[in-house]
Structure formats: structure tokens, C-alpha cells
Symmetry: C2
Subunit: 284 residues, 2 copies
């Protein structure tokens, strides 16, 4: 479905009807604070990071989110399916079943997968183990009514986080698995550099596999490879162009702001939330 507010493909976003935040974006806040302040700022969706569930049960989280009038978009994150031994890989599968239980408890229709990578295993071996891991939990996902979404990560995380590093890889894997319970997530930070991106976004749209869309920005000269992401407009990514491709591929769901930033986490989070909303309206 294409939302009917502020979502003409590539056009200006005129309101916050499709704006979702990842709780990690405002990491200093508890889930209760996230829920309250997001709703007050006009944010309509929330993607819950699992660290929030260390102090809140899934059912409490679900109630808080519903009471604030927010929609739960995804639980972040499952995955990390690779491992040097079968025992390690089984442990990951068991953990992913718990993640799916939590997602169902929170009311998240989707679990984002950071697929995993084991150093010095070949990309091919890692990808095979990822496929086996995902296939082992599809039945559980179906039973819980939760989808699994493969998120390709930037190749600078290929050593220990994900052997799936391009949208082509994610599409290949998703189509090889061929399950209605498995799709892909497009995150501009990870994928913006790829000359094949537009074609691969169209491909996953055609296949009905495009499940979610994450935005932030890539700053030249990042101080940290993990926690120095930029707000949309602070970096080099043409976010509106990529959003246009995603929408042309038929996606009209939430636009999820996911920013890890030591710099922004040190700021007053109310001021940061205002900046997120402005960046969403002006540079997304």
C-alpha cells in the first residue's frame, strides 16, 4: 500500500505520517521516554531495539506503544547465524526463536536480521550458514505471525557483522529461500554507494520482498566506523532519490530513522528529536 499523506514517489514529505524512529536513535531515553516524546513530536511509528526489553516486558512495551497511539514497526534485531561450530549455530537459531517470541509479544510484525559473519570463513560459507539459520526459524516466524527481514550491511562490517553486504546478495538469498515470511530491508547508510542499487530496489519490489526502509546519512570523515552516523542532510547520501526508488518499487510503509551517533547522544535528546523531525521533512 502507498500511504496517501506526503508520499508521492520522490516528492516532498509534507507531514510526519510515515515517520518512525528506532529507539537506539535516542539511546539515552528509556522505552517509556521514547514512546512519550516520539508521540508528542508527531512521530507515528517506533522500532524497538531489544535492549529496551531488559527492563520492560514485551507485553508492557506493547501496551505503552498502543497507549501512545504509535505503531510498532519492527523489533531490532535478530540474526548472527554464522559460527565455526554447529553448536554455536544452533545457539543462534534458538536465540532467534526467542527474538521472534519477543516480536510477537511487543506487536512487531517484523524482525530485522543482521545476518552475521565469522572471520576467516569464506563469504560463501557464511552465506550458506545464514541461509540454513533463516530456514531453521521460518516455521517459528510463521507461527508467531512475524516476518524476517534480511538487512544487507555496509561492506565495512563484513568482518564480524554481516556477510550479506549488497542488496543483490540480499535479493539472491531471499529469492533462494522463497518464503512469504522472509524479505529485505533497505538502509541508505549501508547501500547508497552501489551503482546497482536502483535496479536491485526495483527487483525486490517486483518480487514483493521489500519490507522496510531505514534512513540516516553518511558523513565524510566519520570519527567512528559504528557510532558516527549523520542526520539526513548532514552527509553525502541523496536520500530523497533513494526514497523515490523505494516508492517507485511499491513501498509505502514507514520511513525509519535509525542513527547511531556518539555526538547526537551527547546532546539534549529533545533538541535532537526536533532536529530529526526537521531533517525528515527537509532532507528525506
Amino acid at each position: 500500500m502507498i500511504s496517501n499523506t506526503g508520499s508521492a514517489a520522490g516528492g516532498v514529505l509534507s507531514d510526519t505520517a510515515r515517520l518512525c524512529l528506532h529507539t537506539i536513535t535516542t539511546r539515552p531515553w528509556s522505552l517509556a521516554e521514547c514512546v512519550r516524546h516520539y508521540a508528542a513530536a508527531g512521530v507515528r511509528g517506533i522500532s524497538v531495539w531489544r535492549n529496551c526489553l531488559e527492563t520492560t516486558t514485551p507485553s508492557e512495551a506493547r501496551r505503552m506503544i498502543a497507549d501512545a497511539g504509535l505503531t510498532c514497526v519492527s523489533l531490532v534485531r535478530g540474526g548472527f547465524f554464522t559460527g565455526a561450530t554447529a553448536a554455536e549455530r544452533q545457539k543462534a537459531i534458538d536465540e532467534n526463536r526467542r527474538v521472534l517470541d519477543e516480536a510477537a509479544g511487543v506487536g512487531a510484525p517484523l524482525v530485522v536480521l543482521v545476518c552475521g559473519a565469522t572471520p576467516r570463513q569464506s563469504a560463501r560459507t557464511n552465506i550458506e550458514q545464514i541461509r540454513e539459520g533463516i530456514e531453521a526459524v521460518i516455521g517459528h516466524a510463521a507461527a508467531r505471525g512475524v516476518k524476517l527481514s534480511i538487512e544487507p550491511l555496509h561492506p565495512m562490517y563484513a568482518d564480524v557483522r554481516s556477510a550479506i553486504v549488497t542488496l543483490r546478495d540480499a535479493n539472491d538469498l531471499c529469492e533462494a529461500i522463497g518464503s512469504p515470511h522472509v524479505g529485505v530491508t533497505v538502509d541508505v547508510f549501508h547501500l547508497w554507494w552501489d551503482p546497482a542499487l536502483q535496479a536491485e530496489i526495483a527487483r525486490c519490489g517486483r518480487a514483493g520482498n521489500l519490507l522496510s526502509f531505514h534512513v540516516c546519512d553518511w558523513k565524510t570523515g566519520m570519527a567512528d566506523m559504528l557510532n558516527d552516523r549523520g542526520l539526513m542532510g548532514e552527509g553525502v547520501i541523496d536520500v530523497p532519490a533513494i526514497r523515490g526508488w523505494v516508492e517507485a518499487a511499491g513501498f509505502g510503509g514507514f520511513i525509519e530513522v535509525e542513527i547511531f551517533s556518539n555526538r547526537w547522544w551527547q546532546e539534549d535528546q529533545h533538541r535532537f528529536l526536533d532536529a530529526v523531525v526537521q531533517a525528515y521533512l527537509q532532507h528525506t
Copy 2:
């Protein structure tokens, strides 16, 4: 040609007959120091970075290298062909002609190209400008007897250094240009993460386009995105496997150690050079 010493595809390197160092690897040393100490350590090839030519003329550099019995493998680096205006791009073309003159003066048969990227230009536009830039200097390269080698860089450098970020992109561009004076460089640091790497190495070997091979290692948790490369064996890259693919593709030339490392540059460079030779024999 396949060298007959220490070069059976994928086998152990039993001597330093194919060992080449980039002068940037021992950045604290002058060209004269590099030449003297490399030769004494059994290194046989040298790739000269242009900063060395700020204090030494190309012909002096050529004489020093020959007197030490070293082979000059490449001049590093040309490229940076993209730009927002035609005037900027013409300036880059003029600069690359000077680089080719310097390469001929030094006796380098090859110029390595870091192709360039202009932020907020699409990958497609950047790649088109790179193609135009290379094509504009092919005649000059042919006249000087110097080849141009397209080096795909890691996608984490796609913002300002290179829109050519996979070996597939480099092979596509090289084949589209279709000149005997243009080929590609395989650097394990930039390319190790790509599931298509083995196939693309075979492809550029078949096409006769595989001109040079760079090694170092990728360390998990790098302190710096540019200057924290590892010595072979310090990181996650299976360098011997990739060397095996390169040799199976018909490449038997120099194996070039190119390391940018604030950590190693702070060490005694004689001790570092010993470590390079050991890492070459044990982990390459």
C-alpha cells in the same frame, strides 16, 4: 608470465623474489632510505608514491632504484577524474598527463588510478566522468609506454575517493574502454568482502586485464578508516586464498605490500620492515 620462484598458485612463498613494497608503507623514510633498506632486506620491487618526487627528480629516483637492483613496479597514484565542473575535470586530466610523464621518468610501467568520486553526484555520473577522464589520457599513456590501472576501492571510500568500488565495476569499466593500455589492480583490503571476488578475478585474468596485486590485512575494530591497515596475518583476510585466485587467473607479477598505519609508522621502521618480510613469507 608466472615467476618460477615461490609462486605455485596458492602455495607457500618460499623467498622474496616477488616482494614489492609501496614507499608509503614506510612513510617516515625518504626514497633514498626506502631503496637502500628494501634492497638490503631482500625486497625486489618498489612502487613509488608521488610524495617521494617532491624532493627527488624522476630521473634521480630512477637511477637510485636501478643502482639498488630494484624493479620499479608502479607509480602511485593518478585518477580523481570526477568533478562538478568541466574545468575541474580538465584540470584532473592535465594532472594525469603529468603523472604519466613522471611514471615514464621514474621507469614505472604502470600508474595506479584512484578513480575519484564527487559527493552527491550519482554513482552513474561519477563512473561516466571517470571513463571520460581515462579515455582522455590513453593516448598520452601509450606515447609514454605506461599503463593505467583502475583500482577499485572499498565502498567506505565511495564518498570522496572512488566511485569504482567492486572488481565487477572495474572489470565493466575496463572492458567498456577496451584499450590494451588500461587494466585493473586487485587490492585485498578493498575487495576481500565480495562474494563475487573469485569469479571477477578469473574474469579479469581471462580478459588479460589483471595488471597488479596489492596486499595487507583488514583488522576488526580499526581505530581509523584510512590509516589503520594491518600487516598480513593481523586481520581477517584470507590473503593466501586470494593470491591463489590471482595466480590461477594467470598473474605471476610482484606482490605489493601497501600498508597505511599510524601505529606501524610510529615504530622503528627497520623493525617494521623485518615484520613485513616475515608476514610476506608466513601469511601471504
